[in-house]
């Protein structure tokens, strides 16, 4: 096992742990995307380019997009404008 592969393995563990410890759901999905990318690199190192292509397309691309859409649908991610408005409102309420 080369040093490159060991670094990739370490990155995998870091990604996997930080996905579960991240408070923000959006950040979790982004870290999960990077997990898939590292995984696809590892697949190439393990000489299975078939899996690497599939992992990059499905794991990093489509699964995360579907996660984004689902979070949007259940209103876990709000648009930036709405968030700012909501923050402004709460501040006003605090002042009152």
């Amino acid at each position: 096992m080369t040093a490159f592969q060991i670094i990739l393995m370490g990155l995998l563990i870091v990604c996997a742990v930080s996905v579960s410890f991240s408070k923000n759901l959006l950040n979790s999905i982004l870290i999960y995307m990077s997990f898939s990318l590292v995984m696809s690199m590892l697949w190439i190192c393990l000489e299975s380019p078939d899996l690497a292509i599939t992992e990059a397309a499905v794991g990093a691309g489509i699964t995360s997009v579907l996660f984004f859409v689902t979070l949007k649908k259940i209103h876990a991610i709000e648009a930036v404008k709405e968030e700012k408005q909501a923050e402004g409102k709460t501040e006003e309420e605090n002042h009152e």
Binding site: P49, A52, V58, V65, K72
Partner: protein, 316 residues
């Protein structure tokens, strides 16, 4: 020989009454039971207050950690038991792993005649340079057929769950979003053709190099999703509607079934198959693998696009 009954005799039978009741023509309880409207349930305010007070008192008594010795004991026991249980699970899993055969030994169950046959005779028997494609779409084509159908069934389930009815179109969250993002559109103009051509290359080259129907279809689906995000549903609906999805899936899956049925039939009965193997390495070679790759790729690309469209819009 059927015995004819007069209509009066028939009206006395059980079947007549059952079908009349089943059809909802006559309520069997009507006129035979006395029906009264229910009394409304009244609760006085005092009763509510008393109940709340009792509830609070009980809660205070139970969750008063300093005076409730049982609760204290339970908490400490709970923590100890959970740690012990975790340790037990870890030990169990580690013991199980130690029974697995060591990595790289010759006597592992992986190193049997099946893998040997795939590697030694794969090129000759399937005609595919890429042994993985030969395995997936020739030796184990039945599994791949099942996988395609799983995807199809998944889309149907999502359709049942997320589909909006005709009257609910105002719930479509796509309407309230900003459109025509200039940066995204410029990037998509450059990227989408490249992504889709790369996906087509992966599909068509599946039997020669790494890739195949599933990965190529996923790449094309990702390209379509990017295009949809940049330009909106009005543009994609010009070439991709629910009808397109239905017909593409129908033709691809049924072509897969028929083609593989033919090759299973000829293979099992030692008949001569009319499908030529071709020279290994040429684009038109390896028998059925190329058309099957195209069929799987079409199903996967359409499925991924359909997933996205249904999550966004509740339809195509």
């Amino acid at each position: 020989m059927s015995k004819k009954k007069s209509s009066e005799a028939y009206q006395k039978t059980f079947a007549f009454r059952f079908f009349r009741w089943f059809g909802g023509e006559k309520d069997p309880y009507l006129g035979e039971l006395e029906m009264q409207p229910q009394d409304e349930y009244h609760v006085s305010e005092e009763a509510i207050l008393r109940r709340e007070k009792e509830h609070d008192a009980i809660m205070d008594k139970v969750y008063d950690a300093q005076h409730n010795k049982g609760l204290h004991l339970f908490h400490s026991l709970y923590e100890i038991t959970s740690v012990l249980f975790c340790l037990f699970l870890i030990a169990l899993l580690l013991v199980t792993v130690s029974y697995l055969p060591a990595v790289g030994t010759v006597t592992r169950p992986v190193n049997n005649e099946v893998a040997k046959r795939y590697i030694e005779n794969g090129l000759e028997e399937t005609g595919a340079v890429n042994i993985v494609a030969g395995m997936i779409l020739d030796y184990r084509a039945f599994d791949t057929l099942g996988e395609s159908h799983v995807l199809f069934v998944a889309t149907i389930t999502v359709l049942i769950l997320l589909r909006l009815n005709k009257g609910q179109e105002d719930q479509n969250d796509r309407i309230f979003e900003p459109k025509n993002d200039a940066i995204l559109q410029l990037v998509a103009t450059f990227l989408v053709p490249i992504i889709i051509i790369f996906g087509i290359y992966i599909i068509l080259n599946g039997h020669l190099g790494p890739g195949g129907g599933f990965s190529g279809g996923a790449v094309i689906g990702a390209g379509l999703v990017l295009y949809l995000n940049a330009f909106g549903f009005a543009k994609t609906e010009r070439f991709f509607t629910e009808k397109t999805y239905k017909w593409v899936c129908f033709f691809s899956l049924s072509f897969y079934c028929l083609a593989k049925s033919y090759s299973f039939y000829t293979g099992a009965n030692q008949l001569h198959s009319i499908i030529p193997k071709g020279t290994p390495g040429a684009i038109l070679s390896s028998g059925l693998i190329l058309p099957l790759n195209i069929a799987v790729g079409l199903v996967v690309a359409c499925t991924i696009y359909a997933f996205y469209a249904m999550f966004r819009k509740g339809g195509f």
